[in-house]
Symmetry: none
Subunit: 240 residues, 4 copies
Amino acid sequence: MAPSGEEAVRVATRGGAGEPSSREEALPVMRERLLQAAETVLAERGYHGARVDDVVRRARASKGAFYHYFSSKEELLLELIDRFGGLLAQAMERALAERRGAAPRVEAALASVLTTLAEHRDLAWIVLVEAPVGGAAPRQRQQAVKERLIDRIRAGLDELAGEGRVAVRDTETVATVLLGMLEALATRWLMTGRPADLKASLEEVAPFALRGIGLLPAAGRPGPAGRPGEAEETQVTGTR
Amino acid sequence: MAPSGEEAVRVATRGGAGEPSSREEALPVMRERLLQAAETVLAERGYHGARVDDVVRRARASKGAFYHYFSSKEELLLELIDRFGGLLAQAMERALAERRGAAPRVEAALASVLTTLAEHRDLAWIVLVEAPVGGAAPRQRQQAVKERLIDRIRAGLDELAGEGRVAVRDTETVATVLLGMLEALATRWLMTGRPADLKASLEEVAPFALRGIGLLPAAGRPGPAGRPGEAEETQVTGTR
Amino acid sequence: MAPSGEEAVRVATRGGAGEPSSREEALPVMRERLLQAAETVLAERGYHGARVDDVVRRARASKGAFYHYFSSKEELLLELIDRFGGLLAQAMERALAERRGAAPRVEAALASVLTTLAEHRDLAWIVLVEAPVGGAAPRQRQQAVKERLIDRIRAGLDELAGEGRVAVRDTETVATVLLGMLEALATRWLMTGRPADLKASLEEVAPFALRGIGLLPAAGRPGPAGRPGEAEETQVTGTR
Amino acid sequence: MAPSGEEAVRVATRGGAGEPSSREEALPVMRERLLQAAETVLAERGYHGARVDDVVRRARASKGAFYHYFSSKEELLLELIDRFGGLLAQAMERALAERRGAAPRVEAALASVLTTLAEHRDLAWIVLVEAPVGGAAPRQRQQAVKERLIDRIRAGLDELAGEGRVAVRDTETVATVLLGMLEALATRWLMTGRPADLKASLEEVAPFALRGIGLLPAAGRPGPAGRPGEAEETQVTGTR
DNA sequence: GATGAATGAGCTTTCATTCAT
DNA sequence: AATGAATGAAAGCTCATTCAT
């Protein structure tokens, strides 16, 4: 459907191989411009506060162009949500693929989400805060993004639980809660600016989460706990 | 302070001991009616989707009456947010006052929030979901409600941390995350209806949280873990 | 109908001869309060900009009281107009009665209007500027006030014209124009604050007017013209 | 600069020589339609009485079109005021340019204003009567229009006064008063319909004014005075 | 593809007026 | 007489969307 972020960027950026601006296959540069503009504008003024005109102006496009590429303002929001959903899922997948061992993988997954959120403030705001009030469709789409992540997390937990390596029963609830922690941190960061460095929260949250699911001992002395768990590496096959 | 819906109705309805309908102390019945109506209507249609007319109609009031009691639609939202903030804070305070021992108190605090959210679906939706997009003021007010709870939780954690009973360093972050878990559960419940019984999540979340902060051993065998922590009761003076 | 300004003031001020605040004959003190308040408020915010609430608040009265004494906001304006009309007519009558000789009488008439306007800035603004847009009735009432003055001036001119002492044919037009000059000065003063001293304009306007109607010679040398016409006093019977 | 109604219509209607409906130079037809409609509607119902809907309906336009061209109802009024200000200034300039001699030029100036007012009843009403109550901005704009005319008149008087040909000291006051006379005549005509022919007033007002400023002898016998001043023609360089 | 003038339903808010007490 | 809560008809303005060019 909607081009993933990368494709879009590629398309938009490319100088063009053959035809100098051949109109037919040129994937909509303007569509990308509109999406970019929307990201900024929606974040600044909120979904309801942002007028299509604002988006169009910022993109140096025309109303007609806008409605050529999007059937409605809502659809624009949907697309942004999906995009961000893709970014999040990708990031998590990549993080999981790069690590070995249960704890490191959990940590990496948490980090990947937090990092993605921190690196896309505007999208994060739109998806976390604005989406649910954009109407029924955006609300559901946002939820879908979350569910996708929750599912992935749960899959991992299920695996660990299957091996009895984790003190978790209702993996769905725990997955929900793990994501919720990150969401809460991000939202607070977006709203209040605290903590200044969102990713730094990991240092506290990761051990909390690992202990929570029972992957880390009673926390004994949190002494050198900053970098926890390196020792007890275990190979846990991520899903897929 | 703000009378809960029921109290208010009672106040408004009551015939009174002495003066039959003395004008002076009569609490604005209509204001209460408007607030009740707003709760339902805003939850149903969202802040932006709800017209003042809808609220007024449901309250069987007139536009004039509305603007007699509220200076704007936004102010109405603010009041709803504050009310719910009061309910949450009260509930948590009560819960903490009734329990002894660190773990039980933590559990009770978590439960109180979840219970309050579950018992006021409409308000919960409004405050959790709609508030941040009602404009700058509602957004800040919502954040204030959260900060109040976070502060309270942190105070408790600080105390435990002071006694070295808890594996937490940055109590603020952990407090944020603890509240965030509940928020995530509630939001998911509001959005998807799952889990059917929001409060039941506690069974999984409480141990998770207790382990997370290091109040519960490594989760030993998650076997009988369902009802955790009874043994290690400790007297921890809640704050204040 | 409406008590003239003086009566009203008397009524309002009097401590009362006999009954200490007998309610029945006590001419409405509150009515007067409302009128006074209205004068200030209407001048400040304009007829349309002023809310009945503003008037009521300033008068420390209640809405009910207002509608007890005035059937509508418009009626309030009408009364203010009539009052000021009375003041103007009175002032002119008094001025004419006190002087002898054509030129002095003309001068005195002009002065009386200018003085009255200057001494009642608020009323002047209301009547000159706001009245015509208060609706049909206030518009007509304002015009009536003007016509009354024009009529009086014309009567004087007719007399002089009858004696051939004045170079005027269409006395109605000239009367209109004489009043218009003063109106223009007053309005400009109200709008721009210039000249600082409205009454000082007389020094220029009076000779202008006297020459205009032919009561003053060609203006020969404007030299000592400042105080014009003393010499050529003539007995012109003012009307009445 | 603003095209008079007719020109505008012509411009709007014209089929055009070359480009068949070239978009670029097409003067906003609808804007003109709205202005025309506003002139009528505001004159009929007054500024406050006229609803934007009324204007829009009369112009066979939509609300959106209205707010596309005017940022507010007030701005519409401002434009009408400015337009009329331009007409008045133009007319006076033209009149002064066409005549030679002090008295004829004064007469012509007076005539030009009266004629313009008479030929644009609606605009005259709006500018003379409604403007000051449209709010602060329209009030000031109206005053600016007047000041512009006063300035021009004063410039002429200053010149005459410099040559000692005129019995005027404070030329600003006299200029104010000269314009005020015309205003008074016009307003009365607008309000009461009298005199039926506004311009006929000139026959009385012009000699009055000329005598007033000392350009016409004592008025001797007003006998043949109807057409005054032919004899004493003098070349007075009007300004510019 | 692109334009932007035009649409018009719908919104929040105001305020003169009423009336039960 | 006096109160002020309540009424409800407007009014000005917004903005997503359409469509002739």
